[in-house]
């Protein structure tokens, strides 16, 4: 028994954290963590997972405070520590890796100075030892030129490198506990897999315990021994990773798991035959000054069809969407709507053309004017495009609200009174108000929580069946593509690398990049990461070595 007791690193009992306005961020949370164990904290935004993650550092963000419960680290109640005690705890015994390393590094200090600062200031090492340790960590984390990497300033390193450097900084004092707050969320999938692999290696090698905060079940499946599901500041359930993924007990967990499984298993939407062409993208090239953002792209979108454009950040996928709507002017090639050529700028397009092509944005928060009522937001396009007024507008607004599944009395609300998912529904309704033939969706689900996003995707699909609209769907998420797209266009650095029916592309990727992309999407099995790394190593060794 005593061995087990010594083994226990972190025990949290009845933790309560409140905001100064009275809101309860975490309520009565209990948590146990053994040495060397990784616990995944899963939840949607506002679940209190980041707040809980910071608790072992005895830290609450501005405007919040820990108001109840115990935080025991190796049996010692951290809440009883004085300022000096907390100082010698933070960074030394418990270290933190932030979500956005780009913002979490001081822009005016070199990375080496920041990594070494902890051990030196806490009197654990002298500068030489600390630098040697840092170089060792840089090498272990696969950072380029580990000996000189530390001389860079934060703005001289990429996002993935900074995230790893942040991990090096956290490990510099050999902490007992590492708190990782969404460390891979801001990264592209192909970068995420590398950072994830290195983080896991580092944690295992040093036998460090970790709290891994994330909203992504398939990411946490790769790294966590156990998972705790949180919602609205309360614990929903906790168990081993396999138990949570395979046999979830609570309805909320079940829904989360089912959503991920649906995203993983789909193979696109099959299409009997392509209808008449709505949008033709013909050899389009787009430039920002001297930089070519999109180069020689050609594909078509047919009536009632969803074409997904996938790619990582910098692939030019959103640029293409904005050029299609006319917000950015294409430098070469042409867009055709039906038979007619579309002028590059929306200003030169006809009212009919502006009406029939609509765009839905990524962030509903900034896509709706916060000072206009829903009745105005939806009523204006109705009045503008259809030249209606008075009762006819009202009737149409009511029809639109019904179409997107919102109650009719929402007309009197302002956007600030709606949830994220409801706002996105209003954006969809606003696009539909113009009776469009083509709706361009720019990452419409990526700012939403998974379950809400799933509902939005279902709604879009249902609207397509009812109204026969076509979608040009811009996304970085292959799971979304699998669920909604008939066809897919894969983009890399402004160029189109693959195009075809979704099922064809996903089953037999025609090129190296698409294959790598597909391999990098985490699956919801605990052994996926090992498998993916092996497969990738084989594949790197040469395409010939790839098993059939």
């Amino acid at each position: 028994m005593s061995a087990a007791k010594n083994d226990m690193l972190l025990q949290i009992r009845g933790l309560r954290i409140e905001a100064s306005n009275g809101a309860v961020l975490t309520d009565g949370i209990d948590l146990d963590l053994r040495r060397g164990e990784v616990l995944g904290l899963i939840g949607e935004s506002g679940a209190g997972k980041s707040t809980l993650g910071l608790a072992p550092l005895v830290y609450a963000r501005a405007g919040c405070s820990i108001t109840g419960g115990e935080i025991l680290l190796a049996g010692q109640d951290l809440r009883k520590l004085d300022t000096n005690g907390r100082r010698s705890l933070r960074g030394v015994r418990v270290a933190y890796v932030a979500q956005s390393a780009a913002a979490a590094f001081n822009p005016s200090m070199t990375l080496m100075a920041q990594v070494c600062e902890g051990p030196i200031r806490h009197g654990l090492m002298n500068r030489r030892e600390a630098e040697a340790k840092a170089i060792e960590l840089f090498a272990a984390l696969d950072l380029p030129e580990p000996k000189t990497f530390g001389q860079r300033y934060p703005h001289e390193a990429s996002g993935g490198q900074l995230q790893r450097a942040m991990a090096a900084m956290a490990m510099s004092c050999q902490p007992d506990l590492l708190v990782l707050d969404e460390p891979t969320t801001a990264l592209d999938v192909t970068t995420q897999i590398e950072v994830l692999a290195k983080l896991r290696e580092l944690i295992h090698e040093h036998n460090t315990a970790a709290l891994y905060v994330t909203h992504d079940l398939s990411v946490v499946a790769q790294i966590a021994d156990r998972i705790m599901v949180l919602r609205h500041g309360k614990m929903v359930e906790t168990g081993t990773t396999n138990d949570i993924l395979m046999t979830p007990r609570e309805a909320y967990t079940t829904a989360l798991v089912a959503e991920r499984k649906a995203a993983m298993s789909g193979h696109g939407v099959a299409e009997a035959a392509r209808g008449e062409t709505v949008l033709t993208v013909d050899d389009v090239t787009i430039k920002y000054g001297p930089v070519t953002a999109v180069k020689n792209i050609s594909f078509t979108v047919s009536r009632g069809e969803t074409v997904a454009v996938v790619g990582e950040s910098g692939s030019g996928k959103s640029t293409l969407a904005y050029a299609a709507i006319g917000q950015i002017e294409a430098a070469g090639g042409a867009f055709r709507f039906g038979q007619a050529a579309l002028p590059p700028s929306f200003k030169k397009r006809s009212l009919e053309q502006r009406q029939r092509i609509q765009l839905i944005y990524q962030l509903p928060d900034i896509a709706l004017n916060p000072r206009q009522k829903i009745s105005d937001i939806l009523g204006r396009p109705v009045a503008f495009f259809e030249k209606l007024s008075g009762a006819a507008v009202k009737a149409r607004v009511a029809e639109l609200l019904t179409l997107v599944g919102l109650p009719l009395d929402y007309t009197e609300r302002f956007p600030g009174q709606l949830s994220g998912g409801q706002k996105q529904r209003i954006c969809i309704a606003r696009a539909l108000a113009a009776r469009p033939e083509l709706v361009i969706c720019d990452e419409v689900t990526s700012a939403l929580d998974p379950l809400v996003a799933e509902d939005i995707l279902k709604l879009l699909k249902q609207l397509q069946d009812e109204l026969g609209v076509s979608y040009l769907f811009i996304t970085h998420d292959l799971g979304t593509v699998k669920r909604i797209a008939h066809r897919v266009v894969v983009m890399l650095k402004g160029q189109m690398v693959a195009e075809g029916a979704t099922s064809d592309i996903f089953e037999t990727p025609p090129d190296d990049y698409t294959r790598k992309l597909l391999l990098s999407v985490p699956e919801m099995r605990t052994d996926w990461l090992d498998e993916a790394l092996t497969r990738r190593d084989i594949w790197r060794a040469g395409p010939a070595a790839l098993p059939a």
Partner: protein, 277 residues
């Protein structure tokens, strides 16, 4: 009392009371003032006494009555100049932010040149050429100060025009009028209201300084700045006469500043909980 979900601080109350009192004084000067503003009621620089609560000025007029009438002039001229400043500055700022790059560049470069010099120096140049009169002063101050408002209005409008909802309106084909008045203005109001207060303080002090230098509002109208100017000599004789109008200027400015500070603090604070991302 709570406004916008926050307790109104004590200092904002003080500021509010000062502003209200000043407004009452402006509106009802003839009914409040014990004497007409030009009537000579005593000796030169009488000390405060039961008849003349604040004493008399350099030619024996009642200081309190002159203060009350003078406030009318000082505050209303500053108010007119501030309104004009805001109209010019906000108008140009919004146009620069929501039309073409060329228009923006032209306006911005002209403003840069005007911003390259202190307002007082430019103002003095204009007065040297055109002489001093109230209309010239108001127009000069408004044009010069509107460059400061332009900067803010343009920045605020720029932050709003990058919002997708403005883009939606543009893509729909809405005209510039709709974009400015229906999409941008309602969202830009809070910072602009605070700016109005700040500009008022600045203009008020600036006009007072000009009058004090003998270049602003000319006699016989009483105004606080020239009252300081006219009574400045009293200091040499150990009197306090100029301190009354100078203090009045200070009190009104503090009042407005306290209210502005509170307005700014409302918008500076984070929305509250749910800070977790």
């Amino acid at each position: 009392m709570k406004i916008a979900g926050r307790k109104v601080p004590f200092t904002a109350y003080i500021g509010g009371v000062i502003v209200v009192l000043a407004l009452i004084m402006i509106l009802f000067a003839p009914w409040i003032a014990p004497y007409p503003q030009t009537k000579i009621v005593g000796g030169v620089w009488d000390t405060p006494n039961p008849h003349d609560w604040l004493g008399t000025d350099s030619i024996g007029r009642d200081m309190l009555s002159r203060l009350i009438y003078g406030g009318r002039t000082s505050v209303s001229i500053a108010l007119i100049a501030t309104c004009l400043t805001m109209i010019i500055g906000v108008g140009l700022g919004f146009v620069a932010a929501s039309t073409s790059k060329l228009v923006d560049n032209i306006i911005s470069r002209v403003v840069d040149i005007l911003l390259a010099m202190p307002i007082l120096i430019f103002g003095l140049m204009v007065f040297a050429v055109l002489g001093t009169s109230i209309p010239i002063m108001i127009i000069t101050i408004s044009v010069l100060e509107s460059t400061r408002v332009f900067r803010l209005a343009r920045a605020v409008a720029m932050n709003i025009t990058v919002m997708d909802y403005v883009q939606v309106a543009r893509l729909r084909g809405e005209g510039i009028g709709w974009v400015i008045f229906r999409e941008i203005l309602p969202n830009a109001l809070p910072p602009l209201v605070a700016e109005f207060g700040l500009r008022f303080c600045f203009t008020f002090l600036f006009i007072a300084s000009l009058s004090f230098l003998g270049l602003g509002i000319q006699p016989p109208a009483a105004d606080w700045g020239s009252m300081v100017h006219d009574n400045a000599q009293a200091i040499a004789f150990g009197g306090y006469a100029p301190l009354f109008p100078a203090g009045a200027i200070a009190i009104v400015t503090i009042g407005v500043n306290l209210v502005v500070d509170w307005l700014l603090s409302i918008h500076a604070l984070p929305a509250g909980a749910g800070a977790e991302i």
